[in-house]
């Protein structure tokens, strides 16, 4: 196993472990802190797999902005008084078994691929080259994403203005 392979497996183990810890926490704050670790591990994985720009974006947007947003929302809600926060085992075990089945079948399909021995060779997409590529060939999706973010911003402002405090049994607006 090469040095890069060792780094890959270490990062993969850290990623799976921190994600598993995140999804098993009862309190959302603990889950979010473990999730930051998980996103860090995947950012390092992106760097190893030759995407330094995406690694930077992963840290800035996911581990930074999105997780801070989650923390703010958790702070806005009173979570202490919430009752039991898990579904009963009988409800999710069948679905869990089915998804495990899909994982096994998918893993077999990937591993028995005739080209399964093809290894990933180290390469790197320079940030400058990736930026030029995106803005030359995919400028329209970039504009669509910016429009989507604007729509999300307007929706968040409109919903967050406090009109939601009206009770369910309150007066019906005409």
């Amino acid at each position: 196993m090469t040095l890069y392979g060792t780094i890959f497996y270490i990062l993969a183990a850290a990623l799976v472990l921190s994600t598993a810890l995140a999804v098993t926490r009862r309190h959302p704050v603990h889950a979010i802190v473990y999730l930051v670790l998980s996103f860090w591990a995947s950012a390092l994985l992106f760097y190893l797999l030759g995407a330094p720009l995406l690694a930077a974006f992963e840290v800035i947007i996911y581990a930074g902005a999105v997780m801070v947003l989650f923390l703010f929302v958790v702070m806005m809600l009173k979570l202490e008084k919430l009752p039991e926060s898990r579904f009963s085992v009988a409800q999710w075990v069948p679905a869990g078994l089915l998804s495990l089945l899909f994982l096994v079948v998918g893993g077999l399909a990937v591993l028995t691929d005739p080209q399964a021995g093809v290894g990933l060779q180290t390469a790197r997409a320079e940030p400058r080259a990736l930026g030029r590529f995106v803005f030359e060939k995919y400028w329209l999706p970039v504009e669509m994403i910016s429009l989507l973010l604007l729509v999300a911003l307007i929706a968040a402002i409109n919903l967050g203005k406090g009109r939601g405090r009206r009770k369910i049994s309150g007066d019906v607006e005409s």
């Binding site: 998980s38 947003l69 979570l79 290894g119």
Partner: protein, 101 residues
């Protein structure tokens, strides 16, 4: 050579299923949204692996768009959760069965 490419995809599959289990197990809307984030992260891992496998930049451009869409999705999803909490005082998805607002 780093690893056989299948290992990257299997890693993405494992992380995706962890996100799915997060949605299935928790009776809490914030944990549901966290599960969606984990699943999107798994999709980006698969994209980056395939970008390295086929030596193209299209996949990396797609990862950029996935991150943008995830940011928009999480902001709208969180504000919906806050609105629902203000109305019902609960984060249990089973409580939100009234479509009449």
């Amino acid at each position: 050579m780093i690893v056989p490419y299948g290992h990257g995809f299997i890693l993405a599959g494992v992380v995706f299923l962890l996100g799915l289990m997060c949605i299935l197990v928790h009776r809490n809307l914030i944990m549901t949204l966290i599960g969606v984030e984990i699943m999107m992260n798994a999709a980006t891992i698969a994209f980056v692996t395939s970008a390295l496998l086929w030596r193209r930049m299209e996949e990396q451009a797609f990862v950029l768009f996935i991150i943008g869409v995830a940011a928009a999705e999480v902001s709208v999803g969180l504000i919906l959760i806050v609105t629902a909490y203000r109305r019902t005082g609960s984060l249990d998805p089973d409580r939100f069965n009234i479509l009449k607002w």
